[in-house]
């Protein structure tokens, strides 16, 4: 692999950009692998990379039904943060945020992670009370979080409606300054390139159609390109988790829903933070290209249709124009939907399963993007050692029968 550097950029500029090497090989599917990862999004690619790098398992295939990073990895709003409430979640997402901070160097790829800070707005007194508790909980876990007064918020975000006649007066908020946005395609490509360089085969346009299971253990994977022998399978397929797990005879406590996002036409820089309101259900940031990147809550019913329904679009945009009246006459350029896998407690499931050699990473719901590096790290550990990584012990599949839920409905709720 040619290392990307100022020198390689100069060299390739002088030769007219005609000799850049391919980022990854077009690998041929082999008949047997040590580990097969299903799903070539951020989580799957990061898992393969970590298997090769940390655990020396390089005979790995990543199977992707479409193209890599073409599912939810390319459909999110690219926010990373670790301002969760419960220690189990904060520990995990803080690990992930730290990996994002090191990602450029680790993967030799510019993922354009810029830590602009994420502000949560409190729109009534009671929400502010909860935010004090939430922010203090984050601080107690050694993670950065600051409470903000309305005056401080007005200074941070100049286009917010702070007038006296607003429908929802801003009572304050809190900020995690290390929160930020990155380029989501670059994250998928960076992991793909690094994993490929360590010997991982990335197979696109390859759909899994079933499993060979003998005596309760995985023996192989059936795909649209033929059968593969393997004893270990990692599943990282987000919204289609229930469908793929059912092929292995496993029922999951997962509901698939559509989560939409949208971007406006580009304008000059006017918003330099990520701003989120759990109460009215919207959040936005401004991309490097000047577009307002807007998101909200998931649609209200089960769906595998990657579109998004109009009432939710309307409610999210209504909330945005209420908070930012100055944006009300901007045009939307694009609106899209991704299918997210939501667990009953809005926390992930990274776990072994009743089928030996079948490991799952699901339940990322509306927040899978920020979890990519830690999700890959912990699933790779779980697969390599056949026991859960300490960070994901609380997120096992059997927590539902044990009643040990990690109820993050509030912290996971709106910003993704």
């Amino acid at each position: 692999m040619e290392k990307y550097s100022a020198f390689s950029l100069l060299k390739n500029t002088l030769t007219g950009h005609k000799h850049w090497p391919k980022s990854w090989r077009n690998a041929e599917l082999k008949s047997a692998y040590d580990v097969v990862i299903i799903g070539g999004g951020g989580h799957g690619l990061a898992t393969a990379y970590n298997l090769a790098k940390n655990h020396g398992i390089t005979n790995v295939a990543v199977l992707e039904k479409g193209w890599i990073g073409g599912g939810n990895t390319g459909r999110n709003t690219a926010v990373s943060r670790s301002n969760y409430f419960y220690p189990e979640s904060t520990r995990f997402y803080e690990h992930s945020l730290k990996l994002y901070e090191q990602m450029n160097d680790e993967l030799n790829y510019n993922v354009m992670f810029s830590q602009v800070g994420i502000i949560n707005l409190a729109l009534d007194r009671h929400e502010m009370d909860i935010f004090r508790r939430w922010s203090t909980s984050i601080q107690l876990q050694g993670v950065d979080s600051e409470l903000l007064t309305p005056e401080q918020i007005a200074e941070e975000v100049s286009i917010l409606n702070m007038g006296a006649k607003t429908r929802y007066k801003i009572h304050g908020g809190f900020i995690q300054r290390r929160g930020g946005v990155s380029r989501h395609d670059a994250v998928a490509w960076a992991y793909a390139r690094a994993a490929d360089n360590l010997g991982v085969d990335i197979i696109q346009n390859c759909e899994v159609t079933g499993f060979d299971i003998v005596d309760g253990g995985i023996r192989g994977v059936k795909t649209s390109l033929g059968k593969i022998r393997t004893d270990k399978v990692g599943m990282t397929v987000a919204g289609h988790s229930s469908v793929v797990a059912a092929m292995a005879g496993i029922d999951l406590p997962i509901i698939s829903m559509c989560l939409q996002a949208m971007v406006s036409e580009p304008v000059k820089p006017c918003l330099n933070r990520i701003v989120m309101s759990p109460k009215v259900g919207c959040y936005l940031s401004q991309s490097d290209r000047g577009e307002m990147v807007i998101g909200g809550g998931a649609d209200s019913y089960t769906s595998y249709g990657q579109r998004g329904n109009l009432p939710t679009t309307e409610s999210v945009l209504g909330a945005v124009t209420e908070l930012f009246p100055t944006l009300s006459r901007m045009k939307l350029m694009r609106q899209w939907g991704g299918i997210v896998d939501i667990a009953p407690d809005a926390s992930p499931i990274v776990s072994k399963t009743p089928v030996t050699g079948f490991y799952i990473s699901t339940g990322w719901g509306t927040g899978g993007y920020k979890a990519i590096p830690a999700g890959g790290d912990t699933l790779a550990y779980t697969i390599a050692n056949d026991k859960p990584h300490p960070l994901v012990e609380p997120f096992s599949l059997d927590r539902f029968a044990k009643g040990r839920l990690v109820d993050e409905g509030a912290a996971a709720g709106v910003a993704h």
Binding site: S242, V243, D251, P253, S256, T302, Y304, G305
Partner: protein
């Protein structure tokens, strides 16, 4: 936008309704006697099909009545609307 034919009020737009998730879930008759796993299955396990889904809806901003809907989770097409307590209609997997 879905058009849902409320059995009590007739066709109305989706934003008058609330989806209550999977229908026909039977609560164990003797909760004290089932295992933790069976109880967890009742509370949390959902079928989440890619295709026809039988689900409960409520006409929240209308008559406030609950009823059942058979809907495709990919195309969102509504195949049938039927009363609470009625058995599932059999839907052939058209368009799935």
């Amino acid at each position: 936008m879905l058009k849902i034919n409320c059995p009590f009020c007739g066709p109305r737009t989706e934003d008058e309704f609330t989806c209550g998730g999977q229908s026909h879930i039977a609560r164990p008759v003797t909760p004290a006697e089932v295992s933790d796993q069976q109880w967890a299955d009742y509370l949390y396990q959902r079928i989440n099909p890619k295709g026809v889904h039988y689900e409960r809806w409520r006409h929240t901003f209308g008559c406030r009545q609950w009823f059942n809907v058979a809907r495709d989770t990919v195309s969102h097409e509504i195949y049938a609307v039927y009363q609470m307590g009625e058995p599932k209609p059999s839907i052939t997997e058209k368009g799935v």
